[in-house]
């Protein structure tokens, strides 16, 4: 008899440890379910089309997911706190416009880049400030901010879009070949780095634990002595920073700042987050899930196109497959219960 039991401790017997360990891993790692769905989709399209499993095509899929994937990263933070950000893409678009217009005006490109990121951060600060100061529902605040920013971008752009020729602003689109074969862009590297940094921050630092706690049960977090408002504010600011980087990504991908762009970026990014297994009620989820979630949609689009399916039927198939993807996730978890 161990000391724990001597002290009146009840330890439960361990049974079937191998199966159980796997099930615990699945249950604890929200990204596993979506990852299975992703792999499933990739295998499906590889078998049904010749062109899908092609280094070029896979690279393209990743490039197509970069902007939404980056927006979704910031969105994940906000959703983890129990909020939602409808204005993320609008902040990103405003930042691209600012950068492009400054560049046209001849401002030095590092300054331009900083200004773009700064405006996204400022939006985050304002949003977070209003949300925390008045304890308003983030849905309404970011909806208001979305409306304002969209109009502001249009007024600021004056009905034009601005092609970007500056090297630094377009730098993330630069292509490189790994092993002389695999096409990668600097944007991919930056996105990956951002994901890793935020994964680390969320899982390995006190700040991350506070973010989860605030989303999980705000009152418990407050009573536990967490600076709830400060944590919330920091989340909106960090998310703003991420949206600033998304703006840089956007110019790398399409070197043209357009007030019209990414009108469905908010919904697309929320979709990636939810597909990635993060709960809209806050406190549960992971950025790795979001990464997978962002890729799933692009994989479906690309695969269905390769399969020669017309746009409207692609939509039907995408709708079905998105539901199937989460259902697979859910079923794989339920069996383990």
């Amino acid at each position: 008899m161990g000391p724990a039991e001597l002290l009146g401790v009840t330890t439960m017997s361990l049974t079937a440890p191998r199966r159980a360990a796997l099930s615990e891993f699945v249950l604890r790692t929200p990204a596993v379910g979506p990852a299975v769905a992703l792999v499933f989709a990739v295998v499906l399209f590889s078998l049904t089309t010749d062109t899908f499993l092609d280094v070029d095509n896979l690279s393209l899929v990743v490039q197509q997911s970069l902007v939404v994937g980056t927006l979704a990263l910031g969105q994940t933070l906000v959703i983890l706190t129990g909020g939602i950000d409808l204005a993320n893409a609008a902040a990103c678009v405003l930042a691209t416009l600012l950068m492009a217009k400054l560049a046209v005006g001849g401002t030095a490109s590092p300054v331009t880049l900083l200004a773009g990121v700064a405006v996204a951060v400022a939006v985050g600060l304002t949003t977070g400030g209003v949300v925390t100061a008045f304890r308003l529902p983030p849905f309404i605040v970011t909806l208001g901010v979305l409306t304002i920013l969209t109009a502001a971008s249009r007024i600021y752009a004056g009905g034009q879009s601005y092609p970007v020729t500056d090297g630094l602003l377009g730098w993330l689109g630069t292509r490189q070949y790994l092993f002389g074969q695999i096409e990668v862009t600097f944007g991919m590297g930056v996105a990956l780095a951002l994901y890793l940094v935020l994964w680390y921050s969320l899982t390995r630092t006190a700040w991350g634990r506070h973010v989860y706690a605030v989303g999980n049960d705000p009152e418990a977090a407050r009573l536990s002595g967490i600076h709830v408002r400060r944590t919330l504010l920091s989340v909106y600011v960090v998310a703003g920073l991420v949206y600033g980087v998304a703006a840089w990504q956007a110019l790398g991908r399409v070197p043209n700042a357009d007030p019209n762009a990414f009108q469905t970026g908010n919904l697309d990014s929320i979709t990636a987050v939810v597909l990635g297994g993060t709960s809209l009620f806050g406190g549960r989820g992971s950025v790795l899930g979001t990464l997978v979630g962002a890729l799933i949609v692009a994989v479906l689009r690309s695969g269905l196109t390769q399969a020669g399916i017309d746009n409207l039927y692609q939509d039907v198939a995408t709708g079905v497959l998105v539901i199937v993807a989460v259902a697979v996730d859910r079923l794989s978890r339920r069996r383990q219960r």
Binding site: M1, E5, L6, L7, G8, T10, T11, M12, S13, L14, T15, A16, P17, A20, A21, S23, E24, L27, Q336
Partner: protein, 286 residues
């Protein structure tokens, strides 16, 4: 496997279980447990924190579907897929977590899932709730328990811990028709309120309904229980009569300092005795 002690039961149990198992990942919360509730008795279920008492009664009330084992109601095997199935058999439960809808008011919670409608056309056709009637009834039931709630229209999330528990207890007491299960119903209650709940349990028994009472309060258990089911490490390790055993002995069984021997008598578990566990446990149990 389980040592049963005390009088033999000639009658068919109202609710019983054999070899129940429930695993959560690597934790086995119910590890082959048996259970028997006799007609008209108050059965106390006692055990350490984490022993698996709540998991056991959740299985018995349909809140949790066991992985293995069998449950019988009046001797007939049943399968509960949800709390509703158990409720249909007249099994009513106060869960440890109370299971109240926080934003809804006291009366709504008391009648949640079996609201009363107005008589006549209003109720039959227009499904109109008898809100006033339910409030009055709620007031009466809570008054009987000595639980003072200012207004039946106060959302339960604004109630004090004890008031909330009172609502949950009142609900089960009012609606049980075959078995009433209460998981630590007096944990948050004051002295007078606890006494009223014990009175209530007595009255339920007087109505002929058996009651399962989970409690850590030995004086309460010894005051009201007809038999005591001792739970340890996920299973029943003893079934004793409070008339024949002392609180100290029961505490010993709970902590594992004592066990039921092959002859049905209690015997000391050597290692445990050396740590003086019974002394600590016994000291506060009285």
């Amino acid at each position: 496997m389980t040592g049963v002690d005390g009088r033999d039961a000639p009658l068919e149990p109202v609710l019983s279980a054999r070899a129940l198992v429930k695993r959560f990942g690597r934790v086995t919360a119910i590890d082959g447990s048996d259970f028997d509730l006799m007609p008209g008795e108050v059965l106390a279920v006692v055990g350490d924190n984490g022993a698996g008492k709540s998991s056991l009664i959740k299985a018995l009330s349909g809140a949790l579907v066991p992985d293995e084992g069998e449950i019988r109601v009046d001797g007939r095997p049943v399968r509960f897929h949800g709390p509703l199935d158990a409720r249909r058999h007249g099994i009513e439960t106060v869960y440890q977590d109370l299971a109240l809808a926080p934003a809804q008011d006291v009366a709504s919670n008391l009648f949640l899932g079996r609201e009363r409608r107005r008589p006549g056309v209003l109720g039959r056709v227009f499904r109109l709730l008898d809100t006033r009637g339910m409030r009055a009834e709620a007031e009466r039931v809570l008054g009987e328990l000595g639980i003072g709630v200012r207004s039946m229209s106060q959302p339960v999330e604004t109630l004090s811990g004890g008031q909330r528990q009172g609502v949950a207890v009142a609900r089960a007491a009012a609606f049980g028709t075959r078995v009433v299960i209460m998981d630590e119903p007096t944990a948050a209650l004051g002295v007078a309120e606890s006494a009223k709940v014990l009175d209530l349990i007595g009255r339920i028994r007087d109505r002929g309904l058996p009651v399962v009472l989970i409690s850590h309060n030995m004086p309460h258990v010894f005051e009201i229980a007809d038999r005591i089911h001792v739970h340890r490490l996920g299973r029943r390790v003893a079934l004793v009569s409070p008339a024949e055993r002392t609180m100290n002995e029961v505490v010993g069984l709970i902590t594992g300092a004592l066990r039921v021997g092959a002859d049905g008598e209690l015997e000391e578990v050597r290692d445990a005795v050396r740590t003086g566990l019974t002394r600590t446990g016994g000291g506060t149990a009285e």
